[in-house]
Amino acid sequence: MDRIAQVVGISPVEIRRRNFLKPGQTTTTQQVIREEINLNHLLDRALELSGYAAKKTRFAEENRDGMRKKGIGIAAFLHGAGFTGSGERYLNSLVGVEAGADGNVRVLVSSAEFGQGTNTVLCQIAAEALGLPYESVAIAQPDTTVVPNSGPTVASRTAMIVGKLVQSAAKGIKETLTKTGVLRDDYTREQFCAACREYIAAHGALKSYARYEAPGDVYWDDEKYRGEAYAAFAWAVYVAEVTVDLTTYAVTVDDFVALQEVGKVLHPVLAEGQITGGVAQAIGFALYEKVVWQNGRMINNQMTNYIMPTSVDLPPIRVFFEELGNVHGAHGAKGIGELPMDGPAPAIVNAVEDAIGVRFHSIPLLPEDLFEALRPASVEQEAPSSTRGAA
């Protein structure tokens, strides 16, 4: 985007403003944007949070002298939640919710918890749907003899797709109890427990299942590869501020603003953790983590020579959310797992270009890469004293 802006002679901000997708417009797969997303608003807020305009001017001024050049760059992007195209339809996920005679509820899904907070969020959704305290809900171990196939834990689908099914299945428990007359619409936890006990004594196990159904307005043509590629998108504008040290050729990220619209944020602490973790990994992807292949193998497969960011390498990662809500996900949630991996590298490459006027076409940007790219240029530009002063 920044290259196009340069060619047509407008700013990186303006090129994005003029080309943002708007509700009613279509994507490359002819998907109509139905979400009420206002990307210009997202951009304005990200620019304000990062102090973009003032920094852009100040850096241009300060970069005239010295060996440390500063730059600021933007990435505006989107990430589809759930499997692409017909993926979710083929997966045909099934989710269960079970209530015991003691009134405790178990969520039955094949989604795996590995620290991202799936268990917490799915239990929250079930508790909310049943009007019970969070402590009344637990998650079953994802043992396939116990849990139905709710699909794999991938594709930024768990909170949105599986979460929605948990919500439906939990509502099914409530409906079963109210329809059989053992529970009124308005109930306390004690009444819920008594109703479960009564129902189970009379009818046996109390389980409710929900199977994925594609929303009516989501259609994908596998032949032409056209249509609704995703039921929803997460939208984001990220801003990276960098310093390029022309003595060491190292790039450091000094500040990072990650603003995203992800529908309803189900758990603010966990959601922020997903974003900071993703951004940190993507900063590594942009600046450190070079995979070296030889004979089909990664030869730098040790932490000694595959370098990932440590606690002193990262900038403050400042995370902000917009919540527009989304009809497809549980309580309006969309996926967030993969989103933060998309934006940091382009924002950083743009910031590096802003700092030193050199555009890179690959990542990671190691000091060696900067050295190589700057060598001929610095020889040619020897005459003006710009980069020759003492550091």
Binding site: F114, G115, Q116, G117, V269, L270, E272, G273, I275, T276, G277, G278, V279, A280, Q281, Q302, M303, T304, M308, T310, S311, V312, L314, P316, I317
Partner: protein, 165 residues
């Protein structure tokens, strides 16, 4: 699991682990990490990279924060070792645990025992650390999940709570 080195070369090593005197029979070059996990069944100490880069096997050896994957057990002879299990009685444990929970300081959990030990080590030296001190104090402990920000917040919060008490 590491295959045990040949039995004939084993020797007796005496040290203190979490306040208790221990005697193990081990090859002198066996990693302290393996002795802790396999012989003493203290599996709270995690192996990450096994080459001293990631810090997930951190333990305190005579008050120093070390990577137990790089310490031959013979070198720990006569030393006092504290593992994550031994930290549970430490005055900092509750504030740290609470703060890690509240701030989202742990995700997958593999780095967490080492992070906690590094945090205890830091806060013992600097009860009121600045952000830069926290970053420096945890620099030997890699975390892939959190992006560190919530860990910094947790350590700062635990420090504030402890200072107030």
């Amino acid at each position: 699991m590491n295959p045990s080195p040949e039995t004939g070369a084993k020797c007796e090593v005496l040290f203190t682990v979490n306040g208790e005197a221990k005697k193990v029979l081990a090859h002198p070059m066996e990693r302290l990490l393996d002795v802790l996990r396999n012989e003493l069944e203290l599996t709270g100490t995690k192996e990450g990279c096994g080459e001293g880069e990631c810090g997930s096997c951190s333990v305190l050896l005579d008050g120093m924060l070390v990577n137990s994957c790089l310490v031959p057990v013979a070198q720990a002879s006569g030393a006092s070792i504290v593992t994550i299990e031994g930290i549970s009685a430490h005055a900092l444990m509750n504030p740290l645990q609470e703060a890690f929970l509240e701030c989202g300081g742990a995700q997958c959990g593999i780095c967490t025992p080492g992070m906690i030990l590094a945090a205890v080590h830091l806060l013992e030296k600097k009860p009121e650390p600045a952000l830069a001190d926290i970053r420096e104090g945890l620099a030997g402990n890699l975390c892939r999940c959190t992006g560190y920000m919530q860990i910094f917040e947790a350590v700062a919060r635990a420090a504030r709570r402890r200072v107030r008490k």
